[in-house]
């Protein structure tokens, strides 16, 4: 049952060949037995899940239809869940119980999904390995000595190991697509504003995107259909109609042109990864796509641009954590109110979060604001323009998701810049707010490799269709880590 896709489980539930209670118990039992090896969940909401499953079974019995009715999923612990601990992977929010649901959580519940629990992640989504969590590192089901990527690493590990049917994630610099690539999954980050940010704990507001980690593009279409749409509670939510993504993917591929940024295939890309991605591009050609080289002349600026803009926004967003109204409070004696704030924050935030806050404070401080922050915002426009010019010539851009397959725990923790470069191929789509998806396209040394497809704004339907056609022609997405079968 745990090897089924979300679509298969939803169909089996609707047909009555399995009950939501059976399926939910199956996943809860697996989490209980297997998650000790992965640490993919921070909180398991077993009672609530069983209650939701019984309710879903009653709704199915009454003949009700909803796209995800009775399917057990997990939420990244960055999404607020009413009455349930919401930690964002931080000591700062260790005891925080959200008074409300994120819009995404509310919508998935309305679509009938059962919540199994909250998944582990890099603290405040700041990381590419899921090693910065206050609740300990997450491991990759394909090799327990390796990281599952990050920051949505708990969601990736849980879906890959069959500890939920699908999971939500967030992507600010690659935090959905990079773990999806490293764990052999389909990771979709839609257009900026397509999914509401309400109740998604803010990291860098102009870059934060909600999305999903699933086994297939078909599952991603189901998840997106349930999550997408205008929300008046998010001031940057897009007021655009939501297509029927499940219907969109079934259409013929038609004539598509795909641009391949040849600059991505340089020394920075592992040779075996490059070869798997090249093979995938050949598959796309066999499906009828016209593939040709495309230039993104300023893409080399994307990582440095991101590491100015994202920390700047993070230092502002994280100013709200004072330890008084909520969040970690020191038990040490304090000299004055300022000392109280400083101790609460110094104890509550981990090392990487502190580095980002300090970097952000520096680039926003008087005398440096123009040289760093404004300069980076200008470079951001150059990068976005490159994409717009490319999309005047091609329908999609295809390339690698990550420079290498999953790396070992501890391998990159001593050098922040080395860790940051994991997101070299993914950050561009966040800066430009473009929809992007990573899909499995091969294995290197037993570890999955991801192919990244990027499309113009609001092209999620055609993008998912392209990924779906690729998955009908390949079976990389159907592999399952033997140790968790």
């Amino acid at each position: 049952m745990h090897r089924h896709t979300l679509a298969e489980s939803a169909a089996a539930l609707a047909a009555g060949s399995i009950s939501s209670l059976e399926l939910t118990r199956h996943y809860l039992d697996r989490i209980e037995r297997l998650d000790g090896r992965l640490n993919s969940y921070i909180t398991v909401t077993a009672e609530r899940a069983l209650e939701q499953a019984r309710e879903a079974d009653r709704r199915i019995a009454r003949g009700e239809k909803a796209p995800l009715l009775g399917v057990p999923i997990a939420h990244k612990d960055i999404f607020c869940t009413a009455g349930v601990r919401t930690t964002c992977g931080s000591r700062m929010l260790d005891g925080f119980v959200s008074p409300y649901d994120a819009t995404l959580v509310e919508r998935l519940e309305r679509a009938g999904a059962v919540m199994l629990g909250k998944t582990n992640m890099d603290e405040f989504a700041m990381g590419s390995s899921s090693e910065t969590s206050f609740f300990g590192p997450v491991r990759n089901p394909w090799n327990l000595d390796c990281v599952p990527g990050g920051s949505s690493g708990g969601s990736a590990a849980a879906v890959a190991a069959g500890l939920c049917a699908a999971a939500t994630g967030t992507d600010t610099g690659g935090s959905i697509r990079q773990p999806a690539a490293l764990a052999g999954l389909t990771g979709l980050k839609p257009t900026y504003g397509r999914i509401s940010r309400y109740g998604m704990i803010a990291f860098a507001s102009s870059l934060d995107h909600g999305g999903s980690l699933t086994r297939t593009a078909e599952d991603a279409a189901l998840m997106l259909g349930a999550m997408a749409g205008f929300d008046e509670r998010d001031s940057t939510s897009l007021d655009e109609p939501v297509p029927d993504y499940a219907a969109e993917i079934g259409k013929p591929l038609g004539a598509v042109t795909i641009g391949v940024p040849e600059g991505f295939f340089d020394d920075g890309l592992d040779a075996a990864n490059a070869s798997a991605v090249r093979d995938a591009i050949t598959v796309l050609e066999k499906l009828g796509a016209d593939c040709k080289p495309v230039e993104l002349p300023n893409i080399h600026l994307s990582v440095p641009t991101y590491y100015v803009v994202a920390p700047a926004e993070a230092s502002s967003n994280l100013a709200r954590y004072d330890g008084i109204r909520f969040g970690h409070r020191t038990s040490a004696p304090v000299a004055d109110l300022n000392d109280f704030y400083m101790r609460n924050r110094g104890e509550g935030f981990g090392d990487e979060v502190q580095r980002r806050i300090l970097t952000g404070t520096y680039v926003l401080s008087s005398g440096y604001y123009d040289a760093y922050y404004i300069k980076a915002q200008k470079a951001r426009r150059l990068i976005s323009r490159d994409y717009a010019e490319a999309f005047a010539k091609v329908d999609f851009i295809a390339g690698p998701t990550t420079p290498t397959p999953a790396f070992r725990l501890g391998q990159k923790t001593s050098d922040p810049v080395e860790m940051y470069l994991n997101d070299i191929y993914t950050i561009g789509a966040d800066l430009a707010g473009l929809p992007a998806i990573s899909i499995p396209c091969g294995f290197v040394g037993g570890l999955p490799v991801g192919l990244q497809l990027v499309g113009p704004h609001l092209s999620e339907g055609p993008l998912l269709r392209l990924a779906h056609h690729f998955q009908r022609a390949t079976d990389w997405h159907a592999r399952f880590p033997a140790e968790f079968d």
Partner: protein
């Protein structure tokens, strides 16, 4: 760009982060590494390019100025470590 020890303590003050003295040398090295990395931006020609704040270049949507939230302070205050009669308490400080 390389930072000095005193820069870190000043940034800590600005960001309201208490930095233990033994952590300062490592922070100086790592933050200097991050800043030299982002210094690559200096080489980019951004003459006559407008700064970009929103990925779709949309402007802020406004809503009517009406009350939409109800008073739920009791629920919200459940997350505070110390509350009395609807007020947040902080440690007593005599200055």
């Amino acid at each position: 760009m390389s930072l000095q020890l005193e820069d870190i303590q000043k940034l800590g003050q600005l960001a309201r982060l208490r930095i233990e003295p033994e952590k300062v040398p490592d922070l100086v090295a790592k933050l200097s590494g991050i800043l030299s990395f982002v210094d690559q931006l200096k080489a980019a020609d951004t003459e006559a390019v407008a700064p970009m704040a929103h990925p779709l270049d949309r402007t802020q949507r406004l809503r009517p100025d009406t009350v939409t939230e109800s008073d739920r302070h009791e629920l919200y205050q459940e997350n505070s470590a110390s509350v009395e009669r609807g007020l947040y308490l902080v440690p007593k400080v005599i200055e």
